[in-house]
């Protein structure tokens, strides 16, 4: 499958075949940028259940998956959507009400965990977290960790430096690798075989893409292999890692996609307000996700005038002067 010369498919197909209930999932992006939102909405639409979700700081996408009840367990560093929701609202509610099991790490620890998975080693070392409750307090119980083969038996392990004083680090925290069953990322450009180019910051998308068993890529532009191969220095993900490619313009909306469009402050503020109230949130789910056929329809529903304001300035990569207040 990964050696197939053409991996273009529909999002419906990719999600139904590669994202089974209960699978271990990670998504790309960071807070309000380049989250694979079209895929997130499709997962919600297909009413996927019991997902085990890995995230560093993928705010909006993570919160929507939690809000829709798709997520059973979460390993995460940070659940916020920048100034739009310093703490993601559905995340907060799900934890405070005991509906969601969460395991806390730091951003670097999560990044290293994906990197370890990508590198094919069981752990990587860092000095981050020594002395803190991130090491001492476990969100997942020892029993759960014993019972679940897809979760390491220990949250973290602290060791003395086997090289003595080398590197001026007497103790190290070892963080266990993550190898998600499936990872979904949204990129600016991909070809039909799956080679992909991210523009702007890559966050931890490349590490995630290489750590997972199956990789789904959604892209703003489906381009030719020849085009991407003219400047291979700018590509980060080779086709050998990719299972499915889906062409979805505005696929990160309402989060931003550098050089294509900005985040939608109206949508994100409306979302936060809806998220705070149970009945408003059910209305949100119905109107913006369940009653909508696909992402294209969501984009169509959003007034085109409004979308125009979000289109990125070709030089800066964002929408200069966009009205971003209104909290």
């Amino acid at each position: 499958m990964k050696s197939a010369p053409d991996k273009v498919t529909t999002l419906k197909n990719a999600v139904s075949s590669l994202v089974p209930d209960g699978c271990h999932l990670s998504i790309g992006g960071f807070t309000i940028n380049r989250n694979p939102m079209a895929a997130v909405y499709e997962i919600i639409r297909q009413r996927k259940k019991d997902l085990h979700l890995y995230a560093h700081s993928n705010g909006q996408g993570v919160d929507e998956l939690i809000g829709a009840g798709c997520v059973k367990r979460l390993e995460i560093a940070y659940a916020g959507s920048g100034r739009f929701a310093p703490t993601c609202v559905r995340f907060r509610k799900a934890i405070e009400s005991g509906q969601l099991k969460v395991e806390d790490y730091s951003n670097y620890q999560m990044t290293l965990r994906f990197m370890a998975g990508a590198m094919g080693v069981p752990f990587l070392p860092t000095r981050s977290g020594l002395g803190t409750d991130i090491i001492k307090k476990w969100g997942f119980s020892e029993e759960l960790r014993q019972a679940e083969t897809k979760i390491p038996e220990q949250k973290l392990v602290t060791i003395n430096n086997p090289f003595g004083s080398w590197g001026e680090a007497p103790k190290l925290v070892l963080v266990p690798a993550i190898n998600p069953d499936v990872t979904i990322i949204h990129v600016q450009q991909a070809d039909k075989r799956g080679t992909a180019r991210i523009q702007g910051l890559t966050f931890a998308d490349v590490e995630q893409a290489k750590a997972c068993r199956h990789l789904i890529i959604t892209c703003e532009e489906l381009v030719t292999e020849e085009f991407l191969r003219k400047e291979p220095d700018r590509n980060q993900i080779p086709f050998i890692n990719v299972d499915a490619v889906i062409h979805i313009p505005w696929g990160a909306y309402p989060t931003a996609c550098f050089r294509h469009y900005d985040y939608d402050p109206v949508y994100l503020n409306d979302y936060r307000i809806a998220a705070g109230d149970e009945s408003r949130y059910q209305t949100y789910l119905k109107e913006k996700i369940f009653d909508i056929k696909d992402h294209q329809e969501l984009i169509k529903q959003t007034a085109s005038e409004h979308l125009k304001d979000l289109i990125a300035n070709p030089e800066t990569g964002y929408a200069n002067g966009l009205e971003r207040g209104g909290e």
Binding site: G29, F30, T31, I32, N33, R34, S57, I76, A77, Y78, A79, G80, S81, G82, R83, F84, P86, T87, F91, R92, I95, E96, G98, D104, Y105, S106, N107, Y108, Q109, T111, T126, R127, S128, G129, L130, G131, T132, D133, I134, K136, E168, A169, K171, G200, L201, T202, F203, A204, D205, V206, E207, A256, F258, R259, D262, T316, Y318, G321, R324, G325
Partner: protein, 260 residues
């Protein structure tokens, strides 16, 4: 927008300027969103033109022509020296040569007398009364870099004897706390609140009051602090100058996205 002539300033402005003054020229400044980003931008435009602002998302020395609303905002990606990823950004802080030049600006929900921070949860961790965003990069920065500056709202329930959850290391439990724990020698340098500036005693590593904002008494600050602090060294803090305020308002946040 509230009327603000040059003599008038908000406590947010006071805090941003106070933090900006802590940044030295040539520093590499790690910051998050909100007031910490404003402080970093103000420092670069006022007192530390050769400082470099960088974000955990991987952006180094962004142009910041508009104020980002998240560290992943596309506004941090424009005109940078390098656009990398999280792995590179945190390695820059853990790296011994670059990390020692980094000053990290952090915020938290709770702080203790040694500058340890909680940004995870209030109450029981398993089912908390209030859940916050979690560490993000805060624990990493606090573990790695040479100096941190911490923003806090000065309230008794936030300056606590014992953290509900220990997210990010300060001086741990005193002068040898970091060494015993296996961390590097750096740690918190200043806590900047809406009432004044607190620092850490070189010997005990305990928080003490270093300065009060104009009109705020040391006693008021002790009242809002959940543990006893040394007030004897407190001076009155110099208010923001006309120039500082002008740059902060006109260059850093002309749309008033944070200041208003």
């Amino acid at each position: 927008m509230a009327d603000k002539d040059n003599q008038d300033y908000s406590s947010k402005e006071m805090m941003a300027i106070a933090a900006a003054r802590e940044v030295k020229n040539g520093d590499i400044v790690f910051c998050g969103t909100g007031i910490s980003m404003l402080a970093a931008m103000a420092a670069k435009n006022i007192n530390a033109p050769l400082s470099t602002i960088f974000f955990e998302t991987g952006a180094i020395d962004a142009k910041l022509e508009e104020l980002p609303l998240a560290v992943a905002d596309s506004r941090v990606m424009y005109g940078t020296a390098v656009n990398g990823g999280l792995a590179e950004a945190f390695a820059t802080m853990q790296n011994r040569f670059t990390g020692s030049r980094v000053v990290g600006i952090l915020g938290a929900a709770q702080i203790d007398i040694y500058g340890n921070l909680n940004s995870t949860a209030i109450g029981d961790y398993q089912q908390p009364d209030v859940r916050f965003s979690g560490s993000g990069g805060a624990c990493d920065v606090a573990s790695f870099v040479n100096r941190t500056i911490i923003f806090m709202q000065h309230e008794k329930r936030k300056f606590v004897k014992k953290l509900d959850y220990f997210t990010s290391p300060g001086w741990i439990d005193g002068p040898s706390g970091r060494q015993k724990t296996g961390l590097g020698p750096g740690g918190p340098e200043a806590v900047i609140t809406n009432l004044g500036i607190l620092r850490f005693d070189q010997t005990s590593r305990k928080m003490y009051l270093a300065a009060c904002y104009p009109g705020i008494t040391p006693e008021k600050i002790q009242q809002e602090t959940g543990f006893a602090i040394d007030l004897s060294r407190a001076v009155e803090f110099s208010p923001p100058t006309i120039k500082e305020l002008k740059i902060l308002r006109e260059r850093c946040d002309p749309q008033g996205l944070i200041l208003n």
